[in-house]
């Protein structure tokens, strides 16, 4: 059987050390011309992590088994940690006296930049795991490329997050296989989950002016360049899970990256932002 190329990043340490050497000065952070695009792009990374993390955290105390409950909460925690790093850097780039918390808790839905895939309701555990797997495969490919970013600040966040996402992808792959190639009922549900989320995956590979600006600076890869790795990981795991890989071409639900969201995001934010909206500035 073939190996999963994107999970074989044996040079993570080396990439991380290289990123460390260049850490101290990051000309992109103060580049005024780049600011609007860099800020938006950082919000996209941060919001993907934040919204994915929030959806997973909804399982806390409700997981189908104790081990699963713990794993979902741990993964949520990692992702919320990533959101803090990305949004913290976004706030620094923006330079308008906001911080990661203000960006997370005081923006309205149309200011969020996550892909629509991640804001959809958590569904049953099969749906949650399928969505997580489709995202983890992209996330792993993206972070692997970002460890080579021309921005040392971006590279160091990516190197840190990648180590954790490695475990996320391992877990979600295992479980998609176990459930897809499981009982008749689990197979049926995973098949339905795949059909539900597939049309939302195309947005992960789209690009617009924001992407073009950060690609031109060598900060981030062209999202389309991640597709081959993603296709390979997803194809192999789905085949092992005895699930049929859907047609590559088809309708794509899109818009989240530029602030056009499904109705679900507003409800999510109403819960996530409640405390800061009701009691502005409240802290522990």
């Amino acid at each position: 059987m073939p190996s999963l190329p994107d999970m074989n990043a044996t040079n993570v340490e080396e990439l991380a050390l290289r990123a460390a050497e260049q850490q101290h000065h990051d000309p992109h952070v103060q580049n005024v011309d780049l600011k609007p695009a860099f800020f938006d792009w950082l919000c996209r990374m941060g919001d993907n992590a934040l919204i994915a993390g929030h959806r997973l955290s909804e399982w806390c105390g409700k997981g189908p088994a104790l081990e699963e409950d713990i794993a979902l909460a741990n993964t949520a925690l990692d992702l919320i940690g990533h959101a803090q790093m990305w949004l913290g850097l976004a706030a620094e780039v923006e330079d308008e006296s906001r911080d990661a918390d203000k960006l997370a808790y005081l923006r309205d839905a149309m200011r969020f930049r996550n892909v629509q895939l991640l804001e959809l309701p958590r569904g049953d555990i099969g749906e949650t795991l399928m969505r997580q797997f489709l995202f983890d495969a992209w996330h792993h490919a993206m972070l692997s490329r970002l460890t080579d970013s021309s921005s040392p600040r971006v590279a160091e966040i990516a190197a840190k997050a990648l180590k954790e996402v490695h475990y996320h992808l391992e877990r979600s792959s295992d479980l998609v296989i176990r459930l897809g190639d499981g009982s008749e009922e689990s197979h049926r549900r995973m098949d339905a989950a795949l059909a539900l989320y597939w049309p939302y995956t195309g947005e992960l590979f789209e690009s617009d002016g924001v992407d073009k600006a950060v690609i031109a600076e060598g900060i981030a890869p062209d999202p389309e360049d991640l597709r081959a790795t993603w296709d390979e990981t997803v194809g192999e795991v789905l085949r092992e899970a005895t699930l049929e890989v859907p047609e590559a071409k088809g309708h794509v639900h899109t818009g989240g990256r530029s602030g056009r969201h499904t109705e679900h995001l507003g409800f999510l934010l109403a819960e996530m932002q409640f405390l800061q909206r009701a009691y502005p500035g409240a802290s522990w």
């Binding site: 059987m1 190996s3 999963l4 999970m7 074989n8 990043a9 044996t10 993570v12 340490e13 991380a16 050390l17 990123a19 460390a20 850490q23 993390g53 081990e67 699963e68 713990i70 794993a71 741990n74 993964t75 949520a76 925690l77 990692d78 992702l79 919320i80 940690g81 990533h82 803090q84 790093m85 040392p152 590279a155 160091e156 966040i157 190197a159 840190k160 997050a161 180590k163 954790e164 490695h166 475990y167 391992e170 877990r171 792959s173 295992d174 296989i177 176990r178």
Partner: protein
Amino acid sequence: MLDTLPSEAEIWDWLSEVEDPEIPVISVVDLGIVREVRWEGETLVVAVTPTYSGCPAVAVINFAIESHLREKGVESIRLERRLSPPWTTQWLSDEGREKLRNYGIAPPIEGTGTPDQRAQRVARLEGRSSLDVACPRCGSLHTERVSQFGSTPCKAAWRCRDCLEPFDYFKCI
């Protein structure tokens, strides 16, 4: 109030008295999260790196470091968050590993973070372990992984098939 600024070596000694809040048998120095200690004029700068991005212990650790150094008489302290290079379990001291084992947590087995993922997955799905993790209580290698995610972000849940005790394994990262 100190008459002269303590040496960096002295600061490291003091820091080795600061316990990790989740695993109180090892210090923040054993854990390898203190990356640098230096004086900038009269201000002591301590660079600390998080184990996991979302680790909730970070705030508690920073508070413990700062308050311990203040007790020792250091007045001006700045804690710096350092992300790079990212924390790795390779930075756990040998002494720290022994302390973990005695506390009932199997220390990480290096080199198991990223090798042949494919073989590892096959082993996992067949219910075998691709790692020889010794039970910290009875020393048996007849152990199995229950879950890759455990009671804190840095640990996995394991079980000994001989003495039947569940235990934590400090996973490689």
